[in-house]
Amino acid sequence: MTSLLGDARTGKFADNLTGFGRTLRRAGVRVDAARMALAQQAALLVGLERADLAAALEAVLVSREQDRAVFRELFDACFRNPDVAQKLLAQMLPSAPAKAPPRHRPRVSEALAPIYAARNAPPREEQKIDFDAAMTASDAEHLRHADFNQLSASEYRLVERLARDIPLPLPTYAARRTRPGTRGARVHWGGALRRAARTGGELLDLPLLARREQPLPLLVLVDVSGSMERYARLLLAFLHAATAPGQGVAVRRDVFAFGTHLTDLTPAFRHADTDAMLAHAGRAIADFAGGTRMGEALAQLRGQHARRLVGRRTLVLVVSDGLDTGEPAQLERELAWLRRRSARLLWLNPLLRFDGYAPTARGAAALHRQAHAMLAVHNLERLQDLAASLARLVRPPN
């Protein structure tokens, strides 16, 4: 492969850098024109020494930790020093064994594909669009009491859509941020001054600063083991839609899926579109429909993401059936930690649909002991209750 770096003396560098920028964009690294201009300047400042150039371009063009590996592979591929001798040899002896192409991660290969133009681009997957028949009121009524677990695929999609439309007003707490008002704990001096100016320096009344109401930060832990597969998808879709930033004040959402280990779904939740979120989540979760080892997953949460639990005011929703195959003692310990660190630990349990359900499985027993409350989430009516239950169960701290 020819190098994109070319020879600085021929003035090709700018073109090649632009090409590199395009390649990065194809790989999903967010690079805009302003960045590219800055990269140009940076390259002029540090010179064309390879390691320096790599460091400089990385500082300018990468802005997320997870993009670094992609950047480095692409940089190596695009700015490989032209090995003239090797190329000549290849021209003279067409049978000379070419170096095996390096193995790249899929994102990198995809971005490089147009450059390795010899290969045919793989045909794009056609997006299939299914139209659901409009639902009559009685259908909706029927679904309301149906169990998600027993829905056919198209019904399931309808339920998903319904679930998106149920508003979920999250409990709030008094944030440190303030807004001016007629009641509050502190004097709004700025406002007082402006009013006094209107009345010739006379303070007739004191505007006050009240603390803003902010929804409690939300930490959702979704069980994606085999027994929970459908609920997990539904609950994710529901929570994603119901806590979208468009609905009033932005909620801090941290979302993890757990089965045999922990997957951070927070990036997936940044998609505005629920289907895009589900697709992203589906790609991210490696242990979908596997077993459950909740204790280990929680230990991972404590070790790596403990700060996602903001100041003991986080509302933790554990969506699980409590059928756990891990070590019970560890699960108990980790749940106790989670309980201590959160405002409320709520267990959303799909198995509650069975009359006379008792949390006898070891995992379920631990969850039952540690959770502040257990809520049923097995049908739509219950989802509507969830909002009410949240308000009742969660007395905001302070």
Binding site: R35, A59, S63, G201
Partner: protein
């Protein structure tokens, strides 16, 4: 600008003279931040030297270090500016009887002496050669706060309605740090250069320990650097929840010196585990047996 910012090497050496051992990639990023006058966003595990870089840069460049520690719920009045309202009110009452014109009173009330400057404004108004502004742990502040930063990060200016736009007298060198408890907004990132700080390799860590704790003997420093480097690497890293940072290894070396340790042995390592680890489980995880393994000579 001082000669330290003349080239990547010069900057790296100047930082080293201040006791900060930057690898070449970090030095390149810092060099570009100085030359391109862009804020530099540093991310990395706690204790890898994000804050220390700002301190060292300030000393190298002979600039004052202004630090804005972020926290949940931080507001504009704690980061940018606030009026001294009580004093303004007093002034207005006092001016009332003196028959001054409205404009004159207004000018004085919103004069600079009633303006309380918070770190961002201080950094903008710092006299030449300007300041080094450290916006520490941006991820702790909530998302609305990031919006306050945009004007500063992009244009090095802030707008105060009563005064107008305050532009930087000398462009402040700006560093942002984040422990990545949440992803920062793209708008902030677009305005910054970015560098991810890794734990240092063993030689660099050794150099840092030697420089910070000169009382420690060569053998002890080398052992400390090796012990910590192996702690952070597989398979040992799995046994712990949080790997010790550079600050911890330096503290540990100091403690070992205070205990008159000449050569590390598993006994001492276990006894002093509370300096390396700040979590009960991790302290307990460093058993005598594990410490013996960590101190064993490297398999060739």
């Amino acid at each position: 600008m001082t000669t330290a910012a003349g080239s990547i090497d010069a900057l790296a050496q100047a930082l080293q003279a201040e006791g900060y051992y930057a690898d070449r990639r970090l030095a390149t990023a810092a060099f570009l931040a100085l030359k391109l006058q862009r804020p530099l966003l540093l991310e990395g595990e706690p204790g890898v030297g994000k804050t220390a870089l700002a301190q060292a840069l300030a000393r190298v460049l002979g600039r004052a270090l202004i630090r804005l520690q972020c926290y949940d719920g931080m507001e504009q009045r704690e980061a940018l500016y606030e009026w001294n309202y009580a004093a303004q009110l007093l002034h207005m009452r006092a001016a009332e009887g003196q028959g001054q014109s409205v404009e004159a009173v207004e000018r004085e009330v919103y004069g600079s002496r009633y303006l309380i400057r918070r770190p961002l404004l201080q950094a903008l108004q710092a006299p030449a050669p300007g300041a080094v502004l450290l916006i520490d742990e941006v991820d702790r502040a909530d998302e609305p706060f990031e919006a306050f930063l945009l004007e500063y990060l992009g244009e090095y200016q802030v707008s105060i309605p009563e005064v107008g736009t305050v532009r930087a007298e000398a462009t402040p060198i700006t560093l942002l740090t984040s422990n990545r408890t949440r992803e920062l907004h793209d708008a902030v990132k677009r305005r910054c250069l970015y560098h991810w700080l890794d734990y240092p390799e063993r030689e660099r860590e050794l150099a840092i320990v030697r420089a910070q704790v000169p009382q420690a003997g060569d053998a002890l420093s080398a052992q400390v650097a090796q012990f910590v480097a192996r702690l952070r690497s597989q398979p040992f890293a799995n046994a712990f929840q949080r790997a010790p940072g550079i600050a911890e290894s330096v503290e540990w070396a100091k403690a070992l010196v205070a205990l008159d340790t000449l050569v590390l042995d598993p006994e001492v390592a276990v006894d002093t585990a509370g300096i390396l680890f700040k979590q009960r489980e991790d302290v307990a995880a460093l058993t005598h047996e594990l410490a013996t393994q960590l101190l064993a000579p490297e398999p060739v």
